[in-house]
């Protein structure tokens, strides 16, 4: 076969591979939405309470659980991630210790979420005697999300040009004043964008929460130490042990809703990211030093 012919065949093959990848995505989206969209948008499903034996149950407490879990997790992990990212971007020197921190972060990032789930069960639920609750799940997910949140926050901080730091330091500002007054305000839009994508992971996470937060509740959780049932885990439990006659309908609707939530979060992140790109470094703090 001549080189031209081989090239033409290769081009076809690569187009086919690209198309296969995209069609997998399209197929999943269309199927899941096609089966569950009508249920997912039904107010009685969205705002109803789940039923234990009979058909017609809703998922409102599960939606609240998911949102509650997201808020708690971000409150716990954001300060730590930002602090760690500032250290890694501004202070850390190349060397053994820095290398070891990176190694631990990479390991955390590759650790299966079921391992986090069992760890949360052993530490927060059992050893701390918190029982199954939102707080146990939030701490577990905070550790699970630490590497991804830290990395994107660090990138946002590193995008702040060095000239900003030099200008501030040459005016006599200390390192910390520079970070507090110049670097963090400049990086803030980037940090906010960096926070959005991990939210998608929290919403979709199930293996790490079924043993820490719980899989079924009847009423909306109020206290962070209440047992709850985030949507993803509830969907899994419902299909694993169907207890109601219309379980298929509930799982279809829940899966479609989950997909919609994740996509909304994704496009929000994209939109925020684009805005940030356009006015990068807009909003430098005007505070007095």
């Amino acid at each position: 076969m001549n080189a031209k012919g081989a090239d033409r065949i290769a081009t076809w093959v690569f187009w086919t591979l690209g198309i296969i990848t995209v069609s997998i995505l399209a197929f999943i989206i269309l199927e899941v939405l096609g089966r569950g969209l009508l249920t997912a948008l039904n107010p009685r499903f969205l705002f109803g309470k789940p039923k234990a034996m009979t058909a017609g149950g809703g998922i409102f407490p599960m939606i609240v659980s998911t949102l509650y879990l997201v808020v708690l997790t971000i409150i716990i992990s954001l300060p730590i991630s930002v602090g760690a990212a500032i250290y890694m971007a501004e202070f850390a020197k190349k060397g053994r210790l820095n290398n070891f921190i990176r190694f631990c972060l990479d390991s955390l990032a590759t650790l299966p979420s079921i391992v986090f789930g069992l760890f949360g069960l052993a530490l927060f639920v059992t050893a701390f005697r918190w029982s199954y609750c939102l707080m146990a799940g939030a701490f577990t997910l905070a550790i699970l999300n630490l590497p991804i949140l830290l990395r994107s926050t660090e990138e946002a901080i590193k995008l702040v040009p060095d000239t900003y730091r030099e200008a501030s330091m040459s005016l006599g500002a200390s390192r910390w004043t520079t970070i507090r007054q110049i670097v963090i305000p400049s990086a803030l839009p980037g940090i906010i964008t960096a926070t959005i994508l991990p939210i998608g992971r929290i919403v979709g996470e199930s293996a790490a929460i079924i043993y820490t937060v719980g899989v079924f509740i009847r009423n909306v959780p109020v206290n962070p130490f209440d047992t709850a049932a985030p949507l993803a885990g509830y969907i899994w439990a419902t299909q694993a042990e169907p207890g109601v006659p219309d379980w298929k309908c509930i799982v279809n609707g829940g899966a479609a809703l989950l997909l919609i939530m994740v996509f909304v979060i994704y496009f929000l992140a994209r939109w925020a990211g684009n805005r940030y790109q356009k006015k990068k470094l807009y909003g430098v703090g005007s505070g007095k030093t």
Binding site: V22, L25, A84, F119, G204, A207
Partner: protein, 303 residues
Amino acid sequence: MSARSGGAAGALGAKGAAFADREYWVRLVLFACASISILAILVIFLFIFRESLPAIRDVGIGNVFFSTNYNPQTGHYGMLGFIWGTLLTTFGAMVLGAPLGIGTAIFLDQIAPERTAQVVRRGIELLAGIPSVVIGWFGLILLVPFLARTTGTAGYGVFAAVLVLVVMALPTITTLSAETMKSLPQELKEASAAMGATRWQTIYKVLLPSARDGLLIAVILGMGRAIGETMAVQMVIGNSRAITFSLFGRTSTLTTRIVTDMAEAPPGDHRSALFAMALVLLLLAMLLIIIIRFVSRQRKLAA
């Protein structure tokens, strides 16, 4: 500072010291934040290890990690069959997923027009965000019945798990491969084209060899996702305790066995054996990271 005189010097000195002092504390707090990752991995390891000790003590290391006899009713907790299940499904997912992912990355970098590439990239990012329960549910209601119809088997089993894992690992492999391809120097591509090479010859003889290490890392991280994936696989693999060597055999992986048994495993040897499986998963994940570090160090040395 010492050049100044009088009371002003003392005041300024104190202020300067206070500044230096604050700087020190701030730095310490920030360092503490950064070292939480070290603490986290350590505490996770310790707790998983501690919880898996009872099973190891009561049944014996060999009978837990190197035995295929798993029957909680009779007190046998050998996990070798599930380690095999994890390796088999991961291998299968890489056989299909690596060419598809790397091929898509080459498509994005070399072949697709910019607008098409942009759309495909967005699509892959979206695919990465789809929760595993959704993909598992999709596999359960579509893939399994389809496999059952076309192969005459139950549909559940290794092959269904492999297909689900391909979907889960594909975004990781594609994104990282595409980054590697993009990072190759433009001169490489131009030089090859200038020599009269066709696009395929450039890809095959120039780009792929120089991207080798990066693509390897992409596939290893894809493996990491496949090894750790739990819910989606659990929904389609059949959850049998049997070891299988068949593509359509029902079996379990380490992750799916934990989820399947956890609900009916009260604190005791059974639950402890499940923690021992998590310990193996943890060690596998860290092994992958060590391999990646090794590969990238080799690359740095070669450069």
